[in-house]
């Protein structure tokens, strides 16, 4: 129900400790935006500044058209789900959800309606009288969501809400959250360090590293056109192959092979990047081929990954799961040149 704008936002703790640097993002109304990055990259700080839990050192944050830099957290009309859930242990599930509404001096009947509505959505009807300690992890997580839902906030903030759940429950809840986003028709800002969550849930993803925003885009854009070496390496499993190479005109030369790039680049050294799925056992006519000495074979059923050496470089390949290969084998592989990336040695920016 509102857009969020980060406008040259800086967070500085001391003169030389800056955790968020010149952060600029526009999050559209009703968008599901995921802030992703390794731990300590400043993503949580960025969220907490929006929540009003941290002072903003420089720049502005707007919710809708309203600058909220100096607005108290409670007046920003946001709701937040904490990684730890932060449930009030001495209050029942009902009271936990009713608490933010009581703070708004809402009428009792209205509170009741909202709490019951939220608990129905989240399937918590049978637990309303319980204390948090008598709930399972997944249930607690839903109470934390419920406490956010009841307020019908303009913006929903979620700080790694799934990290305390086991893998199965996490997958389930991911789907539930997306459904919830659709149902609520509200702006979601979701912080995570897990790129899978980011890729699967986000309408758009903002990737941060070391306090700096690296790239903003849809999952597809980010995956196919990473803006720099960091984004390329951060998104996708297994990670993109990075091979040192030198370019002259449109030919990139690595230690074990040469590849023709789709366009010519200024000559120099850099890093050639290509995803494992670009290295296959289907050797296409006219595309580069090389021999890989296989170190490790990973069979996932639907896929088979080979880890090995090409020339002097470590390369991962995704091959047909039916291909018979054992560690120590030398196999011939082909490279699909349609999705090649090349990163400048100095700036690490994508040139291709």
């Amino acid at each position: 129900m509102a857009s969020v704008t980060y406008d040259h936002v800086v967070k500085r703790y001391t003169a030389d400790v800056t955790v968020v640097k010149d952060f600029n993002v526009e999050i559209k109304d009703k968008e599901f935006m995921v802030l992703v990055g390794p731990s300590g990259c400043g993503k949580s700080t960025a969220l907490r500044m929006l929540a009003g839990l941290e002072q903003i050192s420089e720049g502005r944050i707007l919710i809708g058209d309203r600058m909220v830099n100096n607005v108290a957290a409670k007046d920003r009309d946001i709701a937040m789900v904490f990684q730890s859930y932060a449930l009030y242990p001495h209050m029942s599930v009902y009271d936990n959800m009713a608490f933010p509404l009581q703070m708004q001096h809402m009428k009792k009947s209205e509170i009741d309606t909202r709490v019951r509505n939220a608990s129905r959505i989240l399937g918590l009807d049978n637990f309303l009288k319980r204390k948090p300690r008598a709930l399972s992890g997944g249930q607690r997580q839903r109470v934390a969501l419920g406490r956010a839902i009841v307020r019908s906030p303009k913006v929903f903030l979620l700080d790694e809400p799934l990290s305390n759940l086991d893998a199965k429950l996490r997958g389930q809840t991911r789907v539930e959250l997306q459904k919830l986003h659709r149902d609520l028709q509200t702006t979601f800002i979701y912080v995570t360090h897990d790129q899978v969550e980011a890729m699967t849930m986000g309408d758009r993803i903002a990737i941060m590293n070391a306090g700096i925003l690296q790239q903003v885009g849809t999952p597809g854009e980010i995956y196919d056109h990473p803006a720099n070496l960091f984004v390329a390496g951060f998104i996708g499993t297994p990670t993109m192959n990075f091979v040192p190479a030198s370019v002259s005109d449109s030919t990139a030369k690595a230690s074990g092979f040469e590849v023709e790039l789709p366009k010519s680049l200024p000559s120099g050294k850099g890093t050639l990047g290509f995803r494992p799925e670009a290295v296959t056992d289907r050797v296409a006519e006219g595309s580069p081929q090389f021999e890989m000495k296989v170190d490790v074979v990973e069979r996932l059923g639907s896929d088979q990954f080979l880890y090995g050496q090409v020339g002097g470089d470590q390369v991962t390949a995704r091959v047909d799961p039916r291909m018979a290969v054992a560690p120590g084998d030398r196999v011939k592989l082909g490279l699909d040149t349609r999705s090649m990336h090349f990163f400048d040695a100095e700036s690490e920016q994508a040139l291709l």
Partner: protein, 303 residues
């Protein structure tokens, strides 16, 4: 069944007579032996006192207390009878309540405010101010008596006009450093997410304090109440300085100290008196003990 309970079942249930089962059993037995043994050893001096409180003065002086535990059982309730009949006892117990209760309530309340600020509000010099407060624990009370009493006299805050007010305030002042120290430590340990969550939920400082901090700090407050009450209840000197030892205001410690005379005669009555004066603090302890429950924070945050 809660997650906890499930986990506990898993741990405890090893197949009967398996090595793990035997070692678990042995550990359990050892635990009980150690617990009961330590407690029993701890009780020896108190048992000595208790036994002696039922012995004749001459016997206490001439034979060890343990001899009373074998026949012939020459027990007497004379000591108790003498203590209970000392006319002022009932009144002085009442005086002790009059002194102890407000002298516990005032510093606990004030300390809770200050501890909350020290634990969760940011202000310049906070840490140093807090440490200075802790350092005040080391100030010998005897050196404060004259200046404080001088001030009391100059503003007329003497027992003749103000009853116990002077001693309440003094005990509050003396008890605050520890009270703030203990509570701030506990408040500081509350998960910060709770506070932030409450802030986003729209709770103000007061709401957070009264609806979240206080309910969650019940064990700490209960232990503080126990100690402050106990110290005030057992205090002799502060009471003598600020309320004096006249019969109508004397707390029970003064009355009991006066059971033995200035030359030390009558000390055997202290055996009985010690047990009688112990009753109230023990009742306070036992009745507040139910607040020391496991996991008051359980379920709030994980990890």
């Amino acid at each position: 069944m809660t997650a906890q309970a499930v986990a506990r079942e898993e741990v405890v249930r090893a197949p009967a007579w398996s090595p793990a089962w035997i070692s678990q059993r042995l550990q359990k037995v050892l635990l009980h032996v150690v617990v009961i043994g330590l407690t029993a050893a701890w009780m020896v001096p108190a048992i000595a006192l208790f036994t002696s409180s039922f012995r004749h003065f001459e016997d206490i002086n001439s034979t060890g207390w343990w001899t009373a535990l074998a026949p012939p059982f020459k027990f007497t309730v004379d000591n108790y009878a003498k203590v209970l009949s000392s006319g002022n006892l009932g009144h002085s117990i009442f005086n002790s309540f009059m002194i102890s209760i407000p002298a516990t309530v005032i510093p606990t309340t004030i300390a809770a405010f200050a501890a909350y600020a020290f634990a969760w509000m940011k202000f310049p010099g906070r840490n140093y101010l807090f440490l200075a407060l802790v350092a005040l624990l080391a100030v010998p009370l005897q050196l404060t008596f004259v200046p404080v009493l001088k001030t009391y006299v100059s503003v007329g805050l003497v027992p003749q006009n103000w009853g116990f007010v002077g001693v309440w305030l003094a005990h509050a002042g003396y008890g605050l450093p520890f009270a703030v120290y203990l509570l701030a430590n506990f408040f500081r340990a509350l998960p910060s997410d709770l506070f932030e969550s409450a802030e986003i939920d729209g709770a103000g400082t007061l709401t957070v304090f009264f609806r979240i901090v206080l309910p969650l700090s019940v064990p700490a407050i209960a232990s503080l109440v126990i100690f402050q009450f106990l110290w005030v209840w057992n205090d002799l000197l502060v009471a003598l300085i600020y309320v004096g030892g006249t019969e109508n205001v004397a707390p029970v410690t003064v009355t009991l100290a006066n059971l033995s005379n200035s030359l030390g005669q009558g000390w055997h009555l202290l055996t009985a008196a010690a047990f009688l004066s112990m009753i109230i603090p023990l009742v306070v302890f036992i009745s507040l003990q139910r607040y020391f429950v496991r996991g008051i924070l359980a379920g709030s945050v994980k990890g």
